[in-house]
């Protein structure tokens, strides 16, 4: 999409700059550097020597900048020097609505092949021959079983694309293709690893696969993939970074692989159990986030503070609050956002929460509001997803309720 990055000098353009949708592309001037560069830890881990190619699990709250950070990692100079990078979003190549580990593994193989060939490279003839043989074995069964129209032989690339298309297709087609591949899974993994080995020997670089949006499937499917098929999805011999849904990130099933988990925390604005305290660094960061998009004199200092507080340290939420506030100021013929505008945004967001929270949620929120502790991850899965509960991290992980809800919960 065509994007212009101009720091707004009026509220109209500010409104536009605070849209709550996109992850930022890698070199956007709107980007703000987080303290300690949260992905530097992951970057350092990737650059270290490993005996076996490691798999990393990466998570963070909805709207906290996961895709943005992943885009930046893929564009990083050191990473590019050391790796041949294959980055893709699973939602673009599979159907996140219905996804299993066979799809994920196949997409890795397909993307490795397609992206490598598309950037003008060649695999060695012996490997091509092997892949052709494997392709025929799959197509043969698939024709027998589905009487699909004889596929036009467009070579391997067409094969990968067409199988991916079938994985994305409606239920029966998808089921058939999975049933063909699944019993021959070791074949698939074998082929993936041959491609990886070939790329690595050609490029004299390791292969790094970055898979975005794996936090998007339905929770039960994500669990099926990450809990029950963990062995399978860690079989490819390349480096892989998987995004995972936040609500399974902290569960015991994923604690086994503790050292390879990376969490992109929300920006901390206050300290645990002290809602009146102020984390100056966090405020500073969010302030930069805002002032990268509009000029400072478009908002009063008090209003700025309130907007940051109510944004909970989540970029997308802060953007939405700023957008509503900007609109409110325009509506009232002001050229500066004042506290009243931010309060309107706060009220609206609180109303939105009131509509989706269930009665029993209030009990859980109250508990969290009181001691900032997580009492059983399973209870707060949905709450983490809808952002009514947010996780923060320093030495330990703690959480708090969304700041727009504090008034509601404390007076309940």
């Amino acid at each position: 999409m065509p994007e212009e990055f101009i720091i707004a000098e009026d509220l109209d353009l500010a409104w536009s700059n605070f849209e709550p949708f996109y992850p930022l592309p890698a070199n956007s001037p709107f980007h703000v550097e987080r303290k300690g560069k949260p992905l530097n830890r992951l970057k350092r881990a990737l650059l270290r020597q490993h005996r076996q190619s490691p798999k990393y699990f990466f998570s963070g709250h909805r709207g906290c900048g996961k895709s943005t950070e992943l885009n930046r990692l893929a564009a990083d100079g050191d990473i590019n020097e050391n790796f041949f990078i294959v980055k893709y979003s699973v939602k673009e190549v599979c159907d996140v609505n219905n996804l299993n580990y066979v799809d994920v593994l196949f997409s890795i193989g397909a993307q490795l092949y397609i992206q490598y060939i598309d950037s003008g490279n060649k695999l060695k003839p012996e490997l091509i021959e092997q892949l052709e043989g494997w392709k025929h074995s799959i197509e043969k069964i698939s024709e027998e079983e589905t009487s699909i129209e004889a596929s036009i032989d467009g070579g391997l690339r067409t094969f990968f694309v067409s199988v991916l298309a079938r994985i994305r297709a409606e239920d029966t087609t998808r089921k058939t293709i999975r049933e063909i591949i699944e019993p021959k899974l070791s074949d698939l993994i074998d082929k993936i690893n041959l491609i990886i080995a070939n790329i690595e020997s050609n490029e004299k670089k390791k292969v790094l696969v970055l898979i975005d949006d794996l936090d998007k499937p339905r929770l039960e499917q994500a669990k099926e993939i990450f809990y029950n098929s963990q062995t399978a999805i860690t079989q490819p011999i390349c480096y892989i970074v998987y995004t995972v849904p936040i609500s399974i990130f902290f569960t015991k099933e994923l604690t086994a692989i503790k050292e390879s988990k990376y969490f992109l925390p929300n920006v901390k604005l206050h300290f645990k159990n002290d809602r009146n305290s102020k984390d100056e660094e966090g405020y500073g960061l969010m302030e930069r986030f805002i002032f990268h998009r509009m000029k400072a004199d478009l908002i009063q200092p008090d209003a700025l503070n309130l907007a940051i507080t109510m944004g909970a340290g989540v970029f997308r939420e802060t953007a939405r609050i700023m957008q509503i506030s900007a609109d409110s100021a325009i509506e009232n013929d002001r050229d500066q956002i004042i506290v009243e505008d931010v309060k309107r945004a706060e009220r609206e967001i609180r109303s939105d929460f009131k509509r989706i929270l269930k009665t029993q949620d209030y009990t859980t929120l109250k508990e969290i509001c009181q001691d900032n502790e997580i009492h059983g991850i399973e209870k707060i899965e949905d709450l983490l997803h809808n952002l009514s509960v947010l996780e923060y991290m320093n030495d330990e992980t703690w959480c708090d309720i969304h700041p727009t809800l504090v008034e509601l919960i404390e007076n309940d």
Binding site: D12, K91, N97, R320, S351, I356, K358
Partner: protein, 524 residues
């Protein structure tokens, strides 16, 4: 948290400005407009379209029931100047929710400008079932107003009268909306009457009987002012049912009799049948079973005359109940089977479930516990199927009782706990108290008297809180029994005496006899 609402024009232009700015900056736009009345929706939509066309934008109305894959539909018919105005969201659920959630980025990539009309219920479902899509929203703008013109009433009346909800959250939402609406209506009229009535019923469902009475009384006043005799009768009947739930049966009878007189006066046969049935139930509660049967027979006759199968099923079921109380269980079973046949013939699942459960009760009475269980299980399945949580709790409780009869006390407690949970979930305080009382009895059976007392006391607190005199009397009796078991005679006497006072007040022969006998035997 009342908020001063901006004038409707300001909110219309707010939406317009978002869309026009999105066009100017080539951005996508995901807006929600919350509404209640189709008429208001039509007005607002017309105004927005006008605003948009002045800016050269073209609005397309989209029926979500016809295009479940909205993101694809948007992508295929989008242009820079297009704004999609989507309505009928619920028709596309649940498929449309999944498409929106998973393809939300397509909407952004194609710079689609869309405004979604949603009711409160629809927005709640979107927030919960398409959370990623909801996270992309720019804003929600509310248009919760009441249309004023007369011809616009029907939809609003329908909303005002709606009282069938499946969960506590839905009930609470509905109460909130209706109370807001009520406070906005400038003068008492037909609509406020309907709103008051349905608020009364909703609070009744939550066992907030005092609030229910308040609302029904207000509804009664308005109905009298407007001279609407039929509504006067309904309100009186509702007041009767509420007092009956509070164990104030005599008072309930007074109201039912007034309701009966009115229905006879205006020739409302159905209302007459309902009032007769209520009277029958009330006399049954007072232990005057023959009188109860007379009333139920009258109600039955009217239902047959009118050909009103629903009323007939109820009358037959009530007769079954009465005969069971007389100890004529076989006759009771006959009536319940007739009621069952009618409900099955006319597809009334609710009555079918109740009839099955009643058959379970009857067989349990006969000591045929296995047969009783079979019926309860069937009743349970139906209750779950139609989302009738209240009866689901009742059948679970009765299954518990059946286990308790078989001396399987632990199993019994398990089921009582399930019933307790449901009562709490749907805010049914009365049911909560009943379950607590049953759990107490079960512990007492296991000779864990102290634990039993804890439960009785909790149940007592609830009965007093909601003003349920009968429940209060029952709990006091249980407490008397418990202390008597512990050999604390003074305390036992005290509780029996308290219970006796209540028993006399509400003329409950069961409580009166029991307390008098026990007091006599303890004191001697």
């Amino acid at each position: 948290m009342t908020e001063i609402k901006d004038p409707i024009e300001a909110r219309v232009s707010r939406l317009g400005n978002y869309l026009i700015r999105a066009y100017k900056y080539k951005k996508a736009s995901i807006l929600f407009a919350l509404y209640l009345s189709e008429y208001v929706r039509a007005d607002v939509e017309r105004e927005i379209k006008k605003l948009l066309s002045e800016q050269g934008l073209k609005a397309i109305s989209v029926d979500a029931g016809e295009h479940k894959d909205l993101p694809s539909f948007f992508a295929s018919s989008n242009s820079d100047q297009t704004v999609f105005i989507v309505h009928n969201m619920e028709k596309g659920f649940p498929d449309s929710l999944r498409y929106l959630n998973f393809k939300r980025e397509d909407i952004i990539d194609h710079q689609v400008k869309a405004l979604f009309w949603v009711t409160d219920k629809e927005l709640t479902r979107i927030g919960n079932e398409a959370p990623d899509f909801f996270a992309f929203r720019n804003r929600v703008v509310e248009f919760i107003e009441v249309p004023m013109a007369e011809e616009r009433r029907p939809a609003l009346v329908e909303f005002a009268l709606e009282t069938e909800f499946k969960s506590l959250d839905e009930i609470k939402h509905s109460i909130e909306l209706k109370e807001t609406l009520l406070s906005e209506l400038s003068e008492a009229d037909e609509i406020s009457g309907y709103l008051l009535n349905s608020l009364g019923i909703l609070f009744f469902q939550l066992s907030s009987y005092k609030k229910a009475i308040e609302y029904h009384e207000q509804a009664l006043v308005i109905a009298k002012e407007m001279g609407d005799r039929r509504v006067v009768g309904t309100s009186l009947g509702n007041l009767g049912s509420t007092y009956s739930s509070l164990g104030q049966v005599e008072r309930a009878i007074e109201y039912y009799k007034q309701a009966l007189a009115i229905s006879q006066e205006i020739g409302d046969r159905r209302g007459e049948g309902t009032a007769l049935g209520n009277l029958g139930l009330a006399y049954g509660n007072l232990g005057q079973v023959e009188k109860a049967i007379e009333y139920h027979e009258l109600a039955l006759a009217i239902s047959q005359e009118l050909g009103d199968k629903r009323l007939e099923g109820a009358a037959l079921g009530n007769l079954g109940l009465a005969y069971r109380n007389l100890g004529e269980v076989e006759k009771a079973i006959e009536y319940h089977e007739q009621a069952l046949a009618i409900s099955q013939e006319f597809g009334d699942r609710r009555v079918e479930g109740i009839s099955l459960g009643s058959l379970g009760n009857a067989y349990s009475h006969l000591g045929q516990v296995e047969k009783a269980m079979e019926y309860y299980e069937q009743a349970l399945v139906i209750a779950k199927e139609i989302g009738d949580r209240h009866n689901e709790g009742i059948w679970l409780g009765n299954i518990g009782l059946a286990y308790s009869d078989q001396r399987q006390v632990e199993k019994a407690i398990e089921y009582y706990e399930k019933a307790l949970l449901i009562a709490r979930e749907i805010g049914d305080r009365r049911g909560e108290g009943t379950s607590l009382g049953k759990i107490g009895l079960a512990y007492s059976d296991q000779r864990q008297v102290e634990k039993a007392i804890e439960y009785y006391e909790q149940a007592l607190v609830i009965a007093r809180e909601i003003g349920d005199r009968q429940g209060e009397g029952n709990r006091l009796v249980s407490l008397g029994n418990a202390y008597s078991l512990l050999g604390q005679v003074e305390k036992a006497i005290d509780y029996y005496e308290q219970a006796l006072v209540i028993g006399k007040e509400i003329k409950d022969p069961r409580i009166i006899n029991f307390c008098e006998e026990n007091l006599k035997s303890i004191k001697s």
